[in-house]
Subunit: 143 residues, 2 copies
């Protein structure tokens, strides 16, 4: 049986988030969270967490964000199945940003079908897609 | 003679930033910019850019941010000399975030003396410093 993600990640089941003193005030209750592939170091996406999303992430071991457009928590992969198992969490000097090193479940994190959301690179003043799709998004996100 | 950073990076000297269609509206004129070491892939810091900071970054090839606390542009390293030479810029699916792969000048980017601002890791519900200082901050940022 696969152990719960939180046990794998080694986080508290009932985390005392207040004591961790993240600074949610600078950005209207949010901190940016950089999601980095644990194995390759590639930056996969950037999301935002409010205190509840951070707590849920610690409790479950699955990366959970606050959606600004939908005004609710969302666990990455709740539609696609492409969840992100958290292996390590770091914060910065000002405690107003996070880096989460994760293991991806599935071929990619981007809803456009790419491994990383950062699939466009600046070349001669234009954004160019710099990699092939990792999966067909219509087969995952029903149109 | 060292060529200007912008020439090394291969960006436009007079970039047409409007045409690049970054979405600065979601975050009051800012986009988060993840700074990643070009060689190691380590996430070094997270800053915010407004359109002017992004343009300045492209024009000069040095990572330049908008300081929310000081309400002005700042080129990383303008006090410490620890500048960040931009090698590659990527944007995400929503064009509201950036990843910049950089070469560091100097031993570290963090004003607390560490190579990365993300020098604290979550261990058993507490943030623990997980690496030694790379330099003595008082010798760089005069107290």
């Amino acid at each position: 049986m696969t152990p719960p993600a939180a046990a794998v990640a080694g986080f508290f089941i009932a985390p005392d988030v207040e004591r961790m003193q993240l600074d949610f005030d600078k950005l209207n209750g949010l901190v940016p969270a950089v999601i980095q592939d644990h194995a390759s170091g590639r930056v996969l996406m950037l999301g935002f967490m409010n205190e509840d999303a951070f707590r849920r992430t610690l409790e479950t071991g699955w990366a959970t964000f606050y959606s600004r457009s939908r005004s609710r928590l969302w666990t990455k992969g709740e539609t696609s199945g492409h969840r992100l198992r958290v292996r390590e969490i770091s914060t910065d000097c000002d405690q107003d940003a996070l880096v989460l090193r994760v293991e991806m479940e599935g071929p990619g994190v981007c809803h456009n079908g790419y491994q990383s959301c950062f699939y466009r690179r600046l070349v001669d003043g234009r954004w160019l897609e710099s990699e092939p799709r990792a999966y067909e998004p219509d087969s995952v996100y029903k149109p």
